[in-house]
């Protein structure tokens, strides 16, 4: 195995181990005991939490901030695509033809979205106050990863740089806010449990 790939692979192992550690700690802490008598059901509420409750028409964080929301969605899709490509590269498969061109185009677009989110954080006073170095670093590393992935598809001589960038990102992921990769799902689940028990989610029909 070449040293760059070895570095990225080791980073992946460390990253996955850390994510599992976070996940198992979550399980270990367990659910808080709730003695109140439920008014609703948890399972449909958890389903609702992951589906219709995420509808951008329902969330002010989406519909009041459409440009940022759209940029955020593209940025996250770019991240999923980059992760998928990392797996492909690791398996020594490199896309080609039209497929490759589409991927390159999308990754450039997601890099621009990531950059715009970073610039917004830098120039908006309220966001600056809210931010710590980790916010900038996380945003920068992910954006750079999208960009380098796209460049590597254009010029495969860049693979060493690519694997270094991937390795750095994977090593950093469990340290800062990027670990929301794990906690996002836990938070949606917890919300579903809370609102489900209290009969708030899924919203009742008229006539209750």
């Amino acid at each position: 195995m070449n040293p760059y790939l070895w570095f990225a692979t080791s980073a992946l192992v460390i990253c996955l181990a850390s994510c599992f550690y976070h996940f198992f700690r979550l399980l270990e802490f367990g659910k808080p005991q709730d003695y109140s008598k439920p008014l609703g059901e948890i399972t449909p509420a958890v389903k609702y939490s992951f589906t219709r409750a995420m509808d951008p028409r329902k969330k002010e964080s989406a519909f009041l901030h459409l440009p940022t929301y759209t940029a955020g969605i593209i940025y996250h899709l770019g991240t999923f695509l980059s992760i998928a490509l990392f797996t492909m590269f690791w398996l020594k498969y490199v896309p080609s033809g039209w497929f490759k061109l589409i991927i390159i185009g999308f990754l450039f677009l997601s890099s621009i979205c990531g950059l715009s989110i970073l610039v917004k954080r830098i120039i908006k006073k309220n966001l600056r106050t809210l931010s710590n170095p980790d916010d900038y670093i996380s945003n920068f590393l992910v954006t750079a990863f999208h960009f380098i992935t796209a460049l590597t598809l254009v010029n495969n001589k860049l693979f060493p740089v690519y694997f270094i960038a991937a390795g750095v990102l994977l090593l950093y992921l469990p340290i800062g806010k990027l670990k929301h990769t794990v906690y996002f799902f836990a938070a949606r689940y917890q919300l579903g449990v809370f609102y489900g028990r209290r009969g708030v989610w899924p919203p009742k029909q008229e006539g209750f």
């Binding site: 003695y35 329902k58 966001l127 106050t129 809210l130 710590n132 800062g176 906690y183 949606r188």
Partner: protein
């Protein structure tokens, strides 16, 4: 403000350390600082500054958690924004957790991730309570409840006198000399609770409920010992005191052998007793607990009372108390009642589980030091009301009634503020009465 000591820090951190569970761990680690929750909060809408963004409140508690409990926060605090607890942070935290959040929870479903912001603020208040930083104004209300059994310090004699003249009024109103407000009766179907503001300032809401129970032929009672549905220790975050107050009511329900406790129109009282109470006491209740809104809706649905919408023809709107609707699941019921009891019901926007807090929640009405902020955040509600063109604003919460009454005067809204029970009592159609004997019970 008392100086922070090592001992206080230790006590505060226990909430995050010894009190850690999967839910707290999740929410402490989930915020990504996107700031997109800002416009969902009445404080940020009223004061568009960074410190009023819900995420700032999340960050206050999670930065302390990171600093003292996580490896990264201990090793590289600057990188992850981990903060030390010191006199300066205590001032900031107290101001934001007590004076800049009503724990209304509106930001929560709007958060891009799903961070339970109001839950974290509650945890923050719990830390402050452990460290002895509950605002004195709020604490004095709690002390009164602990000492006298009700947060207004009403004596039993004063309470009974009020109920006696309300009973005379009831007899006159329903034209039935057997009509009564049963006191301390054992084995009744229902024990009804009150917000102490009712006997003190708004006795008509007690008459309204008594009239409805009478027409419905309900088997009910009031306790003259312990009738307070409120629990301000829920707001202060002092779980020990919240537990004692819950226990008072629990014991009285058991003592009177009531089958069901019906909670007065009180948002936080409903939440504190129905949802948090069993957890304060660490046991399930052996009796049913429902809100008066639910029982009124049931009476109408089951035909136990009849209402005539022609009796209230003015335009009526509804304010949903956050703790009853958004975190209590009761918001269709009040609409069901109003659509049948008044001729012209209009919704304010937004409403239901997305309603804006009136600004008086979270104990704000008990903390006079934040009055200016409270009225400024309340202006949003005043504007919502004005836009509906309604002449009557109904709300199933005496705390909200209080805030709306102040908004009505300050912003010259020219509306009447009423509870759901008052609306139902005004629109009720008299029926043939049947008197319920002590041992007779009617299923709820």
């Amino acid at each position: 403000m008392e100086k922070l000591t090592k001992e206080k820090i230790k006590q505060g951190l226990e909430v995050l350390d010894a009190g850690m569970d999967g839910k707290l761990f999740t929410h402490l680690n989930s915020c990504v600082h996107c700031g997109l929750c800002a416009e969902s909060c009445i404080y940020y809408l009223a004061f568009p500054e960074g410190k009023f963004i819900p995420a700032t409140k999340v960050d206050l508690i999670s930065s302390i958690y990171r600093r003292y409990i996580t490896f990264t926060g201990k090793v590289v605090p600057g990188l992850v924004g981990a903060r030390k607890l010191n006199d300066e942070t205590i001032v900031e935290i107290t101001d934001l957790f007590f004076g800049a959040c009503t724990m209304c929870g509106r930001c929560v479903p709007h958060c891009s991730i799903g961070v339970d912001i109001s839950y974290l603020v509650r945890k923050g208040r719990q830390m402050l309570a452990k460290m002895g930083y509950v605002p004195e104004s709020l604490q004095s209300t709690i002390n009164t409840a602990l000492k006298t059994g009700n947060n207004m310090g009403i004596t039993e004699q004063e309470f009974i006198e009020t109920l006696k003249w309300l009973e005379d009024d009831l007899r006159f109103e329903v034209n039935d000399d057997t009509a009564c407000i049963p006191l301390n009766e054992k084995g009744r179907n229902i024990i009804y609770t009150l917000n102490p503001r009712e006997p003190k300032f708004f006795p008509l809401s007690i008459s309204a409920m008594a009239k409805i129970f009478h027409v419905a032929g309900e088997s009910w009672t009031l306790s003259t010992q312990m009738y307070d549905a409120t629990n301000y220790a829920y707001y202060s975050g002092n779980h020990d005191e919240a537990g004692i107050i819950t226990q008072y009511l629990f014991d009285e329900i058991q003592n009177l052998e009531a089958k069901t406790c019906v909670l007065a129109e009180c948002g936080h009282g409903s939440r504190a007793f129905r949802w948090e109470g069993p957890n304060y006491l660490k046991k399930e209740y052996p009796f049913e607990v429902i809100t008066s809104v639910e029982i009124l809706a049931n009476y109408i649905r089951e035909g136990r009372i009849k209402v005539d919408p022609e009796k209230i023809t003015e335009c009526v709107t509804l304010h949903d108390p956050c703790n009853l609707a958004r975190t209590g699941g009761i918001w269709k019921e009040q609409r069901y009642i109003l659509r049948r009891s008044v001729k012209n019901f209009v919704e304010m926007a937004p409403n239901g589980i997305d309603n804006l807090c009136c600004g008086g929640g979270g104990g704000q009405l008990a903390m006079s030091e934040y009055n200016e902020r409270r009225m400024k955040t309340g202006e949003l509600k005043a504007e919502q009301i004005r836009k509906t063109g309604a002449k009557i604003v109904v709300t199933p919460c005496h705390n909200c009634v209080d805030q709306l009454t102040q908004l009505n005067i300050t912003f010259k809204l020219g509306v009447q503020i009423k509870t759901i029970a008052e609306i139902v009592a005004d629109s009720i159609v008299p029926q043939d009465q049947k008197v319920i004997s002590k041992n007779e019970s009617v299923e709820v």
